[in-house]
Symmetry: C2
Subunit: 238 residues, 2 copies
DNA sequence: TGAATAGTGTCTTTCAGACAGTATTGG
DNA sequence: CCAATACTGTCTGAAAGACACTATTCA
């Protein structure tokens, strides 16, 4: 058997390659993340544990990592085009009992959905409280979720990312509430409004949201807006 | 042959798994990146092209992706513990002619080194001018380099990352110069100094840097400092 | 003394924080 | 009218920009 340098490289045992998604949405006034329960089949790692939705890259069906992430998301949630961003990759000899494995983690934001669910039967939304989720997750998915929450929090300080968590029509108090939910602290109303309106991110609709009190202006996202970066963070608590 | 769900998953054809590094340093008053020239062996993709240093994950020697990145860096540059951060991953069916491949890209900052080189013979420093490097790179390494430059620029706006590009001892004008090189625009001296001194990032030494004019205070990084995040960016040019 | 670079001070601008005050609905 | 929430205005403070000014060296 010839051992050219090339042959050697390609003969390396190859790590398992997977993609996982951290899908966030606001439900019932709290940040939630979508998890799936692992099958209990023979030889399955972490049977019955909750895990991030994901799976093996399929070199036939998936043309790229992102395509794979989109496919997995669609299979698990039925959602087509949410905000999707790469979070990072986690790879080691020990993270999967089946062998050396590397996962590519993506991070998705879904608009708030009405209480009727649109996710698959084996998937469930879990509230993120105090930066954690109740069940212990399979693999190193707890670490990945931690990183995703941190990234979300950090970006919310200085970007318009929460806009992707909003339904099509929303009011400025709604949007502020979502910022506050993610950051877990209250923000100043007037500064918040000034920043959002200056960002050229949203546009008012002709209609108002009626309620038991003064109606609020409805807005929607401007078309095809990628996230806006602000020059300052909201003043951190310290 | 039994085809349990598990068996099916593990029987997926596995993508090639590699790690690549984007190594930055300041040399001759300009941002440089370290590239290696690809071998010209038979069947080698992109023979003779310049590429980012990297290679296949070795499931025996490498316990994790980061360990692999550190090993590759050491092999190519001889450097042990620079600033290392994951940049992202790139994977697709077409990026490597040898098959479906995914690379995990890391991003490293080296302190400015004296002109005598410490890199391997087949590696060379290339100046980054106008956000580009002269040679056309192998694979999608041009894209990866672009992303790395963008990440570096973006972070330099609001973090103390350039501190990792400095030699052990440096003056505030030196540090400002490095910020200016990376951002490719001049900064205000007094605002820059105020920000850096307020960041509790550096400490003065007893000595001064002598020159043909007024001596400058020498500083060094405080011990074990992870990067500092500022609450504002430097005011962007627009 | 003058050139050159290091470093400080001062005024202005910008924008967030605080918070009071006004507006508009339903009951 | 009152409660409740939407929205605006005004003052203050922190930090950056602009830029002039002083400080310290060598030639």
């Amino acid at each position: 058997m010839p051992m050219s340098k090339l042959k050697e490289s390609l003969d390396f045992p190859r790590p398992l390659t997977t993609v996982d998604g951290v899908v966030f949405a606001i439900r019932d006034d709290a940040l939630h993340v979508l998890l799936v329960q692992r099958a209990a089949g023979e030889g399955e790692p972490f049977p019955g544990s909750w895990a991030l939705p994901g799976g093996f890259v399929d070199t036939v069906r998936d043309n790229s990592l992102e395509a794979c992430a989109i496919r997995k998301l669609k299979e698990k949630t039925g959602v087509v085009s949410p905000y999707l961003e790469q979070l990072g990759s986690w790879g080691s000899a020990t993270r999967d009992p089946r062998g050396w494995s590397a996962t590519h983690a993506y991070f998705a934001l879904l608009p708030a959905v009405p209480t009727r669910d649109q996710h698959a039967a084996d998937a469930e939304w879990f509230a993120v409280t105090a930066g954690r989720v109740k069940p212990k997750l399979a693999f190193d998915h707890g670490d990945i979720l931690q990183a995703a929450i941190q990234r979300l929090r950090s970006k919310v300080e200085y970007t318009s990312l929460p806009a992707y968590l909003m339904p099509q029509e929303f009011t400025l108090p709604d949007l502020q509430r979502v910022y506050e939910i993610v950051l877990d602290r209250v923000l100043e109303k007037s500064a918040f409004r000034a920043r959002m309106l200056a960002a050229d991110l949203i546009e008012p609709l002709a209609r108002m949201r009626k309620g038991p009190n003064r109606p609020a202006q409805l807005y929607r996202l401007k078309k095809a807006k990628s996230p806006v970066y602000f020059a300052r963070t909201f003043n951190p608590p310290g």
